[in-house]
Symmetry: C2
Subunit: 342 residues, 2 copies
Amino acid sequence: MKPIPFFISVARIFAIGALLAVGARAHAQTDPLPSWNDGPSKQAIVEFVQATTTQGNPKFVPPEARIATFDQDGTLWVSHPMYSQVMYCLERVPAVVKEKPELKNVEPFKTVLSGNREAMAKLPMKDLEKILAATLTGMSVETFNAEVKKWFETAKDPRWKRPYTELTYLPMQEVLKYLRTNGYKTYIVTGGGQDFVRVYSEQTYGIPPEQVVGTAGGTKYGYDKSGKPFLTKEPRLLLNDNNAGKPEGIHLMIGRRPYAAFGNSTGDRQMLEYTKAGDGARLAMLVLHDDAKREYAYGPAQGLPETKVGAFPQALYDLAKNQGWAVISMKNDWKRIFAFEQ
Amino acid sequence: MKPIPFFISVARIFAIGALLAVGARAHAQTDPLPSWNDGPSKQAIVEFVQATTTQGNPKFVPPEARIATFDQDGTLWVSHPMYSQVMYCLERVPAVVKEKPELKNVEPFKTVLSGNREAMAKLPMKDLEKILAATLTGMSVETFNAEVKKWFETAKDPRWKRPYTELTYLPMQEVLKYLRTNGYKTYIVTGGGQDFVRVYSEQTYGIPPEQVVGTAGGTKYGYDKSGKPFLTKEPRLLLNDNNAGKPEGIHLMIGRRPYAAFGNSTGDRQMLEYTKAGDGARLAMLVLHDDAKREYAYGPAQGLPETKVGAFPQALYDLAKNQGWAVISMKNDWKRIFAFEQ
C-alpha cells in the first residue's frame, strides 16, 4: 500500500493545479474595460491588444515597439465649450497686468479684464496669440510649472463644478491602463501646450512628462544673479502639434510610428493616417461627442463650423468609415463617462 | 520535551534566514562595475546610486524621477579623430552625386569626391553644413534609417578595423546597465543627429529611440502617389543639441532635470551645470581622454585648440574641479576600455 500516499499527493497537486488554473482563467477573464458597453468599439480594442501581445500571432508586436498615442482635449477629457488651457491663460491675465500695468488699457488685455465673455469669444486668433504669449512665456520653467499646478488646485469646470483633472473619461483611463498592462508605452500627443500638460499628466493619467508631446516653444538657457542656471520659456514656436504637426511631433519626440492612436477631431486626422499606414495590426479610433445629456454633442451634423478646432465634421466621419478607423460613440459605447458618477 | 521540536524548527528558520541573508549580501556585493578600477570615480557612481535608491536615505529619489543623461561622442564611444556621423556623411557623397550629377564639379562635393583627406579636413564649417544637408535631409525617414543601418553593417574604424558600434566603452556600458538596474531611465543627449543615433541606440546601448535627444531637424508630412503618408527630413534646424542646447533639448524632450549627467567636452558644460543645479544628490562626470596608448589623449594640455568640438580644455578641467564634477581618467579609472579586449 506504499504507493497510495504518492498517488494521493499527486492527485492533490493536480487538484491544486486545476484550482490555480481556474483562478488564472478567472483573472484573465476580468473585464479590463468595465465602463464600456459590449459592441464593436470595445471589441476592436480587445482584439487589437490580444493580437499584438500574443506570442506566435502573426500580428505580434515586440514589447519595445508597443507605442500608443492619445490626443488629450476631447479624447481623454472634456474640452467643451472651452479648453482648460485657454481658461488658464484668460484667468492669468490679471496677474500679468499686475506685473505689467502698461497692458491694462491695451487690447486684447483690456477686453479680457472687462470680463465680457461675449467680447472675449470674438477675439481674433492674433489677439488670442498675444494672450498665450503673455501668459505662457517669459518666465522660468519652474515658475510656470508652479503657476499651473496652483491654478489646477482651485480652478473648476463651470458645468460640473469640479477640478478639470476630474473630468477625464473613465473609459479612456481604462484603455490607457489596459494598454500599459499589456506592455504599451502610452503617450499624450496634444495640440495643447507640452509644458502645460506635463504638469498634471503623471497624476491625472499615469503618463510621465517625457511621454507628453505637445505644442512646444523654445527655452533659453541662462544664469540668475547667483550664477544658478535656469531655463526661460520663449515665444518661439518649435512644434505646432496639430494636424500634420502630430506625426511630425511623434517623429521628433518618439521616433517610432505608433501601433494605436486615439483622437476626436480633424486635428488628429494625420496622426491616425500615419498610424494606420504602418505594417501589421494598427488601431485608429475617434471619440464622437454624441451624448448631449451626459457630456456634449458636437459631432457630425451638430452644426459646428468645419474650421472650428476640436470639431468632428461629417467629412471626418466619412473618412473614418472609408479608412477603417473605429468611431467611438460616447452615447452608445460608454456605460459610464466619469469616475465620480455612480 | 514537547517544546524542543518547536525551538528546533525556529532555529532552522533562523538558520535558513541567515543563509538567505548571506546570499542576498553576496548578490549585493557582486561588482556592478567590473571594468572600473577602485578609486574616487567608481566610488562616486556607486555612492550616488546607493544614496538615491535607498528608501529612507535623505537623498532618495522616487523611481519616476530617476533620469540620467549621457553625451555620446567621446563619452560612450570613440569619436576621435573623426565622428562616425561625419564619416557617414562624407562616404554618402558619391551616392548623392550619382543621383544629382550636377553636384560633381561643385564645391564642397568636388573636394570630397577627390578623396584628398587633407583638403577635406580644411573645408570650412559652411561647406561641411552643405554636405550634412545633402546627406541627412531630403529623403523619407524610412529611407534615411535604412541607409544608416546599411552603412553601419560595413563601415569600420580605421584604427581598430571594427564596426563603430563595437567601439563603445565597456565601463560606460556598465554604468548604463547599473543605473537601469536601479530604476534609472538612461538617455543619450548628443550633439550628433537625433535620427542618426536612434538607428543603432537600442542595439548598441539598450537605449530606445525615444530616449535619444540629439540635434534635430524638422520633417514634413506628405503623401506618396498611392496616397500613403510619409515624413520627409527637412534642412530646418529645430534643436542644436550642443552647449546651452543640451539643457534646452532635455527640457523639450524629457521635461525633467536629470539626476546624473555624463560628458567629455565643453559642449557638455551646460548639461552638467543644469544637472548639478537641482536639489539633492546630483552626479556630474566628465570622461578625460588621457590614454594615448589604449585610446587617445586629447585632454587638458594635449595642445588641441580650445574651440575644437569635442575638446577638453584646461578651463573645463578647472571648472570641473571648482564645481565638484568628477573627472574620469580613462588611463587610471578604466581597467578595460573595450569589450573586445582580453
